[in-house]
C-alpha cells in the first residue's frame, strides 16, 4: 500500500512513474482525507445536536456532544414559529419550476450551440459564458421595482422568472451534446423528414438524459439554497425555506435550538438527495469543469 518510492523506478522492466494517479496513497493521505471529511460533516452533526436539545443545554458550560431527545419538540416549534409548512411548499414550487424550465431551455440551447450552424454562433456562446461573471447584486434594485410594477412583488414569480435559464446549464448541455450526439443521427432523422423540433423530442432529449439528470440535480440544489434575491424579493408571509430561516434568526431573541431545528429541516431534503445521488453530482461537477 505504502509505496513511498522515488519518482521513477523500474519494475519488471517497465517504468513506473510518479504521476499521482499511478501511486498508491500512503497512510498520511488517508489521515488527511479522513480529517477533511470529518470537518466537512461536523457542522452538520452539530446542527443535529443543537436541534435536539434545549438552548440552555447547548449553550451551557459543558455542551452536549451527542443528540438529545428534544428533536421532535424543536422541529414542531420551528414549524409553527417560522411558517415552515408554507415555506417548504414554496421552496418545492420554486425549485421545481426553475429546474424543469432550466432543463428544457438549456437542452434546446445546448443542442443549438453544439450541433446547429447559424450566423453568430461563436460570439453568442461567448456572450452566454460572459454572463456568468455578472453578480446578481448589480441588478436587484431595478429588478425589485420592475417586479412590483408588474404585480409580482412578493410573489414566487419574482424568484422563478429571473432564473428560468442558466448560462452554466447552456454551457453544460452544449459540452455534453458535442460529444454524445453523433451528427449522423440528426442527419438520418432529417432524411426521414423530421422537422427540427421533432428531432429534439425524439433524438436529442433521449441522448441528453444522463446530462439532464446531473444538471437537474445541480440546478435544484442551487435553487433550493438560493438566498440573496429571494430574501429581498419575498415577504415575511410568503417566504421560501431559506428566507424563512433567515427571518427566524433575525427575530429579536431567537432560540438557537429552534433555529437549528429549522436549519435541519432546510438541509435534510438535500442531504438525502446527496446521499443517494452523491456520485452523480460529483461526476457532474467534475465533467462540467474540464470538458471542452
Amino acid at each position: 500500500m505504502t509505496t513511498t518510492s522515488p519518482a521513477a523506478r523500474t519494475t519488471r522492466g517497465r517504468l513506473r512513474v510518479g504521476a499521482g494517479r499511478q501511486l498508491h496513497a500512503g497512510p498520511i493521505t488517508y489521515v488527511v482525507l479522513i480529517v477533511a471529511g470529518l470537518l466537512s460533516i461536523l457542522p452538520l452533526y452539530w446542527t443535529l445536536v443543537a436541534a435536539s436539545h434545549t438552548q440552555n443545554d447547548v449553550l451551557s458550560l459543558t455542551p452536549p456532544l451527542v443528540p438529545g431527545g428534544r428533536l421532535f419538540h424543536n422541529l414542531a416549534t420551528a414549524w409553527q414559529q417560522a411558517n415552515l409548512g408554507k415555506a417548504i411548499v414554496n421552496s418545492v414550487v420554486v425549485s421545481g419550476c426553475i429546474t424543469a424550465a432550466t432543463l428544457f431551455f438549456c437542452t434546446l440551447a445546448g443542442y443549438s450551440f453544439a450541433k446547429m450552424r447559424f450566423r453568430g454562433r461563436g460570439w453568442l456562446m461567448t456572450a452566454v459564458i460572459a454572463t456568468l461573471t455578472i453578480p446578481p447584486q448589480l441588478s436587484v434594485v431595478p429588478l425589485f421595482m420592475m417586479m412590483s410594477d408588474i404585480g409580482w412583488g412578493g410573489h414566487l414569480e419574482s424568484v422563478i422568472f429571473p432564473t428560468l435559464v442558466s448560462a452554466f446549464g447552456v454551457f453544460f448541455m452544449r459540452q455534453y451534446l458535442l460529444e454524445a450526439l453523433p451528427y449522423e443521427l440528426v442527419e438520418a432523422a432529417k432524411v426521414d423528414g423530421a422537422n427540427n423540433f421533432r428531432i429534439v423530442l425524439s433524438i436529442v432529449l433521449p441522448v441528453a438524459r444522463p446530462a439532464m439528470m446531473v444538471l437537474g440535480m445541480l440546478t435544484f440544489v442551487q435553487a433550493w439554497n438560493d438566498f440573496f434575491w429571494p430574501y429581498l424579493a419575498l415577504s415575511q408571509q410568503n417566504p421560501t425555506l431559506q428566507v424563512a430561516l433567515g427571518q427566524l434568526s433575525a427575530s429579536y431573541t431567537p432560540d438557537q435550538s429552534i433555529v437549528m431545528a429549522g436549519a435541519l429541516i432546510s438541509a435534510l431534503p438535500l442531504l438525502v438527495v446527496f446521499v443517494v445521488f452523491g456520485k452523480q453530482i460529483v461526476g457532474g461537477i467534475m465533467s462540467g469543469a474540464v470538458k471542452g
Binding site: 494517479r21 466537512s40 456568468l132 430574501y231
Partner: protein, 332 residues
C-alpha cells in the same frame, strides 16, 4: 469551464448542403419553404429563451441601475423617481461605512479565497492518488456544497458564539482563552471566511481533480525519465498544466466573494446582521446595499452601491487579466 470553447469543428455539422429535400414535396412549394424556414429559424428559437430571460432580468436591470442611481427613490413610493444627479454617489462615497464595507469585502475575499484554493489544490492532489473508497471521499468533502448559505451561516454562528459557543469551549479545554469572535475586527472576518472556506473547498477540489486527471501521463513519464522527484513533478508538470483551471477558480472565487451576503447577515443571528456587527466590522458591500435599500428604504444610494460594485469588479477583472498575462509571459 473557463478552459472552454475551442470550437471543435470535428463535432459540428458539415457545411450545410442544400437542405435534404423533404419527401413528397416539390421544390418551391410551401412545404419546402417551411422546411427551410424551420432550418434557419430553429437555432435562434432554441437559444432565444436564454437571451430573453437574461435581457429582461439581467442586462436591462443592470443598465437601469445606473439610471436609478441618479434618482431619489424610496421604498415607500417605488413609482416616484426624482432626479438628483450625482448626489447618491456623493452620499455613499463620503460615507465611511461604505469604505469600511469595501475594505471588509476585499479582506474577507482574500483570506477566504487564498487558503481555500490552496487547500483544494492539496486535497485534489491527494485524491488523485490510487485510493480506496475514492468516491466516498469525494462525496464526503463535497457535502458542504449541498448546504445552504443560511443553514451554514446559522450553525457557524452557534459555533463562533462568544458565550456558550462550542469553539470557545474547545479552546478553553486546551487552555486557550475566551474570544469574542463576532466583535473583533479580525476574528469576525476570520469567522466569515471559515464559513466560505467550509462551503467551497470541496467544490474547488473536484474542479482541480478533474483538471489533474486530464493531464497526459506522458508528461509525467518524461519528467520521471529526467529524474524529477514527486514534488518536482507536482511543481513543474501538475501546476503548469492546471494554470488555466487555477485562473478560472480565482476568477470565480473573486466574483463569489464580492457577493458575500448570507454569511455576514446571519453571523450573529438576531438583528445585528443588517449593519454587519456593532462596528460594521464584518459588513460587506452586499450587506451595505441591502441595509441602504431594504432596511433604510433608500433605493437610489443602493443603486449607486451596485454601480460601485460593478466598477470594483472591472478593476478586479483588469488585475486578473494583467496577472494572467504576467504569469504567461514569465512561463514562456
Amino acid at each position: 469551464m473557463a478552459t472552454s470553447t475551442p470550437t471543435r469543428d470535428a463535432h459540428v455539422p458539415p457545411p450545410r448542403r442544400s437542405a435534404p429535400p423533404p419527401p413528397a414535396a416539390a421544390r418551391g412549394s410551401w412545404r419546402s419553404r417551411l422546411w427551410r424556414f424551420d432550418d434557419k429559424a430553429s437555432p435562434y428559437a432554441y437559444i432565444a429563451p436564454f437571451f430573453l430571460v437574461f435581457g429582461a432580468f439581467g442586462l436591462f436591470p443592470l443598465v437601469y441601475t445606473g439610471w436609478i442611481a441618479l434618482h431619489r427613490v424610496e421604498m415607500t413610493g417605488l413609482d416616484q423617481m426624482q432626479w438628483v444627479g450625482w448626489a447618491n454617489f456623493d452620499t455613499i462615497l463620503h460615507d465611511s461605512e461604505f469604505w469600511t464595507a469595501v475594505a471588509n469585502t476585499f479582506i474577507i475575499g482574500v483570506i477566504s479565497t487564498v487558503p481555500q484554493l490552496l487547500m483544494a489544490l492539496g486535497l485534489a492532489h491527494l485524491l488523485n492518488y490510487r485510493l480506496r473508497a475514492s468516491t466516498f471521499f469525494r462525496t464526503l468533502i463535497l457535502t458542504p456544497y449541498a448546504t445552504s448559505v443560511a443553514s451554514a451561516a446559522l450553525v457557524f454562528a452557534l459555533v463562533f458564539r462568544a458565550d456558550g459557543g462550542i469553539l470557545n469551549w474547545l479552546l478553553h479545554f486546551i487552555g486557550l482563552g475566551h474570544t469574542n469572535w463576532a466583535n473583533g475586527q479580525w476574528t469576525s472576518k476570520i469567522a466569515i471566511s471559515v464559513i466560505v472556506i467550509w462551503r467551497w473547498t470541496g467544490y474547488n477540489t473536484l474542479i482541480y481533480l478533474a483538471a489533474m486527471q486530464a493531464v497526459p501521463t506522458d508528461l509525467y513519464e518524461a519528467a520521471a525519465l529526467d529524474g524529477a522527484t514527486r514534488w518536482q513533478q507536482f511543481r513543474k508538470v501538475t501546476i503548469p498544466s492546471l494554470r488555466p483551471t487555477i485562473l478560472f477558480t480565482i476568477v470565480i472565487s473573486t466574483i463569489g466573494s464580492m457577493q458575500l451576503f448570507g454569511e455576514p447577515l446571519l453571523l450573529e443571528g438576531g438583528t445585528l446582521g443588517a449593519t454587519g456587527g456593532n462596528q460594521n466590522q464584518y459588513e460587506t458591500l452586499s450587506v451595505y446595499l441591502y441595509n441602504y435599500g431594504w432596511k433604510l428604504g433608500h433605493l437610489g444610494p443602493a443603486a449607486a452601491v451596485a454601480w460601485a460594485m460593478l466598477a470594483l469588479l472591472l478593476i478586479i477583472a483588469g488585475i486578473n487579466l494583467l496577472v494572467g498575462r504576467f504569469v504567461r509571459k514569465s512561463a514562456a
